[in-house]
Symmetry: D2
Subunit: 285 residues, 4 copies
C-alpha cells in the first residue's frame, strides 16, 4: 500500500524577499517533498503567487500542514489553499440541447483524463437524458422559463448542495444565472463561449461572422462572473474558416474548438493549476 | 522567347444557369487556355464570382479578349476585370517608426515572392529612411501633424499619381486617412492591425489584453474603408500568449503575427486572388 | 418536391488546351448547371484533374450524362467518375479497443456532418460492442489471431459485400490487412496513424518520441496501400507537447489530433473531394 | 544606479527529498531573492533539474554564491551553473547563401529581443557580406571546399576563440562540422533544419515532400551533435501546405517556419532556459 499522499498548495501574498525560501523550509520541516513548483509575480499589483505540488507521509494531514504553515502565513499575509489529490472534486455539468461538449467531457472522464467524479447533469431540456443515462449519470431536467428565475435556482442549488458539488461546468448551457447564484459559486463555474475577431455584439454571432467574412472562429473558456462572458479567461483557441464555409459549417467548426478548449480548462481547474488574481486567470500549465 | 502570356480574369454577376460554360466557351473561342479557375456563389445576394487564370498567344491582347467577352458580359450583366500577369503592380508602402512589416515585405520582394515593384516608401517620420535606402527604394518623409490633413494628403496623392501606384500597403502606418482619400483608393489600400479575443475599445490594447489575461493575440489584414478597421477582412492569424508574457513580450509576439498576416494578404492581392463582394473579401487562395 | 439533383464529377486526363471549355460546354448541353469547379494540373506528369459539382433536372441520369460526356472522354482520354449526391456512401468502421475515433465519427454522423450511412462496425475485440449498440449499429466481433489471416479476411469481405460497403474507415484498427485485401479495396480504405518529427522506426513510438524530447506530436490520415502507412496522404495535423508531458499525456494529446484529422479525411472522401493521382491525394477542400 | 544584479542558476542532480528546500534555504542565506523557479524530475533517470532566477546585491558575486552553494552541491552531487544576466553571451552566426534566418536574428537583436551581442558572421560564401555590413557586423568569408576540412575548422576556431564566442548559430549553414569541432562546442551550437511527416532520407527533401503530397512542412531547431540532425530538440513548428503549393512555394513556406523556430530556440538558449539531460532538451519556457 502507498504510504504517501500528495497535495497541491496554492499560495498568494504581497511580494517580498525570501518567500520561496521560507515556504520551502516550512514544507521541508513539515516532512513534505516538493514534486513541482511554479510561481508568478504580478507586477501590476506586486502580488506573489505560487503553486506547490508536494508529497508526504499519509500520517501528515491538513491539520499538521496548517500548523507548520500558519506562522509564515501570518507573517507574510499569505492566503494558502491545500487540496489533497486523493480527494477528487465533484462535478455537475449543465447542458441545454447541444451535446458535443458533454460527450467530450464524459469520454475524457471515462478514460481517466479528468481527475474528478461527474455526479450529475442538469438541463433545461430533456433532450440529452439518454446521453447521461448511457454513462450512468443522474440527469435532472429542470425547465428554466426565464433566466435567473429564483425558484429554479433554488431547485438547482438544492441538488448541487445535496451532492456536495465543487465545480459547475456550463457545457453549452443556454441560460444565464442570477448574480446571486453566480456569486455563490464564484470561481466554481466554468463557461465556454464562442469568440470572434472582431467581436460581435448582438444575436446570431455566427451569422454576423459569416457576413463579415472572418477567417478565424474561436472559443473562450472562462470563470463565470456577474459580468456576462467577461470573467477571467482560462483558455482560448481558434480554427480557420474561409468564404466557402456556410454558417452551418462555421458553427460545426466552432463546436470542434469549443469542446477542446472547454476540456482543457476543466482539466486544469481539476488539477488546481489555476489561480485567479485581479480578474486574471494565472494558469500553471 | 515565350510566345505565350497569362492573365487573371475576375468576373462577378447575378447567378444564373450556364455561366461557367458560357465563359469557358467564350475564352476558348478567343484562343485562351484555362490554367486554373475557382468560383463562388454568394447565397445571400445570389451573386456569382469567378477567378479564371488563362494563357494565350501574345498576339491576343485585352482588346481581342474584350471583343470576345463583351457579348456575354452584356447578356449576363457581368463585371469583368482582366489583368495581365506580366504587367506587375506598382506598390507604395506607408510606415511610421516600426519596421518589422516593412522589412518582411522588402525581403519577400527581393526573393521574388511578391509579384510587384515596390516603388516608394512614404512615412510621417524619417526613422526608416536608411532601411529604404539599403533596398534602393525612394523614401518620402512627409510629416503628418494631423491625421487626414488635406495638404498632406495632396502631397501624398501627387507622389502616388506621379508613380502610377496600384496598391498602398499600410505597414504599421499610425496615421488615418480622410474619407476622401480612402474612397479615392477604395480596394487599393491594405492595412494590418492587431486583433484580440475579446476585442478592446480604446487605447493601449495590449495593456488591456494583458490585464484581461488573454491567451491569444492576433492580427487582421483588411482593405481600408471609411469605417476605421472595419473593412473587408483578407487574412487573420493568432499566436499563443500566457500570463508569463509581459506587455512588451505580447507586443513582440504580436509583431511576428502582424508581419506574417500582412505579407500573405499583400501576396494574394498582387496575384489577383481577392474579390470584394458585399463588404466580404472572397480569397481564392 | 425538389425536381433537381446534384452530382460530383471527377475527371482526369492528359493535360491539353481547351479541356475546361469542352467539359463545360458538354455539361451545359446536357442540361447541367456548374455549382462549383476546381482544377489542378500535375506538372510532373502533365495530367489535368478537375472536380465539378453540378445540378440538373432529376430526369437527367447517369446514362444521359454519359451519353453527352463520352465523345469528349474518348477524344481526350478522360477518366470520368459521376457520383450523385443523393446516393449516400455506405461505410464500415474497423476498430480494436480504443474508441476515441469511433465516437467522433458516430457523433458527427448523428449530427448530419458526415454524408453517408454507417452500416456496421467490425472489430477484433468485443470491447466496443456497447458503443455501437448505443448508436444502433451492427457490431461484428471477428477475432484476428494473425494479421492478414485469409479465413478472417474472407469473413470480413463477406460482411462488407453483403452490405455493399463503399468505404472502410480504420479507426485505430490495430491489425494489418493482406495485400490481396488492400488491393481489392484500393482507394476505399482510410487509415489514421500517429506521426512524429523526426519519424521513429520500430515499436512504442510515443516512448521514443518522449525519450527524444519532441515538441510536436501529430497524426496522418491516408489511403491504405500495400506499403504500410505509406499510402497517399489525405490530411495531417499536429499538437504541441513539452518535456512536462508524460508518455501517457502525449498519447492523450495524440488521440485528440488523431480523431480530428481522421474525421476531416473521411468527410472529404464522402464529399468526393479527393482524387488520387500518382500516389498523391489531391484534396479539393 | 541599480544596486542589484540577477543570475540564472541551473541545477541538476540525482533526485532526493528536500532538494528544493535546501537550495532555497542556501540561496536565502546567501542573500538572494528567488524571482522565478521551475523544476523537472526526469523519471527515466531519476534526475532532478531546476532553473532558478535570482536577484541579489551587486556585492554578492559568483565566489560568494559558490561558497554558499558548495556544501549542498557536494552533499547532493549537484552540477550547478551560475550565469549573471548582465554578462551577455557572445554569438557567431554561420550562414551560406540564404539570409532569411540571418535577417530575422539581426532584426530581433537590434530590437532588443535577443539578450546577446552578435559579434561576427562566418560564411563559406561571400553572398551575404552586405547584410552583415548593414548591421555593422564583421563578416568572415571562409570557403569550405570539403565539409569538416581540418584547416578550415582551425581558421574558424581561431576566429571564435579570438572573439570569446559563447554560442554558434547555424542559420542555414550548408556545411557539416567534423566530430572534433562539434564535440569542442558541445551544447553551444544551435542548428535549424526542415522536418517532414513522414521523414525523408536522401537529398532534395522538399521535392520528395511534394511528390508525397504532404499537408504539413516543418522545422526543428536542435543542438548539434556528432549524429547529424539528431541532437537534442529545442523547438519545432509546422505550416500547412496543399497540392497547390509548388516545390518553390513549399520551400518559401518552410523558410517562414525555419526562421521563427530558430529565433525562439536562440532566445531560450540566451536566457538560459534550456538544460540538456540524457539527450533531451528541457526547456523552461
Amino acid at each position: 500500500m502507498n504510504t504517501q499522499h500528495e497535495a497541491v498548495i496554492l499560495v498568494s501574498c504581497p511580494d517580498q524577499l525570501g518567500l520561496v525560501a521560507h515556504l520551502a523550509a516550512a514544507l521541508h520541516k513539515a516532512g513534505c517533498n516538493i514534486l513541482d513548483a511554479a510561481q508568478y509575480t504580478d507586477t501590476l499589483t506586486n502580488v506573489f503567487i505560487q503553486r506547490i505540488h508536494i508529497s508526504c507521509e499519509r500520517s501528515i494531514d491538513s491539520k499538521t500542514l496548517q500548523k507548520h504553515l500558519t506562522p509564515i502565513a501570518d507573517e507574510f499575509e499569505m492566503k494558502i489553499n491545500i487540496r489533497w489529490t486523493d480527494k477528487t472534486k465533484r462535478v455537475a455539468i449543465f447542458v441545454s440541447k447541444e451535446d458535443h461538449c458533454l460527450h467530450d467531457l464524459l469520454l475524457l472522464h471515462r478514460d481517466g483524463d479528468l481527475h474528478c467524479s461527474i455526479d450529475l447533469v442538469i438541463s433545461n431540456h430533456d433532450d440529452l437524458a439518454d446521453v447521461a443515462e448511457r454513462f450512468c449519470i443522474p440527469y435532472h431536467h429542470i425547465p428554466v422559463p426565464n433566466s435567473g428565475d429564483p425558484e429554479v435556482e433554488q431547485q438547482q442549488t438544492a441538488i448541487l448542495e445535496d451532492n456536495n458539488i465543487d465545480l459547475l461546468v456550463l457545457a453549452r448551457y443556454m441560460r444565464i444565472f442570477s448574480d446571486t447564484f453566480t456569486k455563490k459559486y464564484a470561481g466554481k463555474i466554468i463557461n465556454i463561449h464562442h469568440s470572434f475577431l472582431p467581436a460581435f455584439a448582438g444575436g446570431k454571432p455566427y451569422h454576423q461572422a459569416f457576413e463579415k467574412g472572418v477567417k478565424l472562429v474561436g472559443a473562450t473558456a472562462h470563470y463565470a462572473t456577474t459580468e456576462l462572458d467577461e470573467g477571467p479567461i482560462i483558455e482560448q483557441g481558434v480554427i480557420r474558416v474561409s468564404h466557402k464555409d456556410s454558417v452551418k459549417e462555421m458553427i460545426r467548426k466552432g463546436r470542434d474548438i469549443e469542446r477542446t478548449v472547454l476540456a482543457r480548462a476543466v482539466r486544469w481547474h481539476l488539477e488546481d493549476r489555476i489561480i485567479v488574481h485581479n480578474n486574471r486567470a494565472i494558469v500553471f500549465s
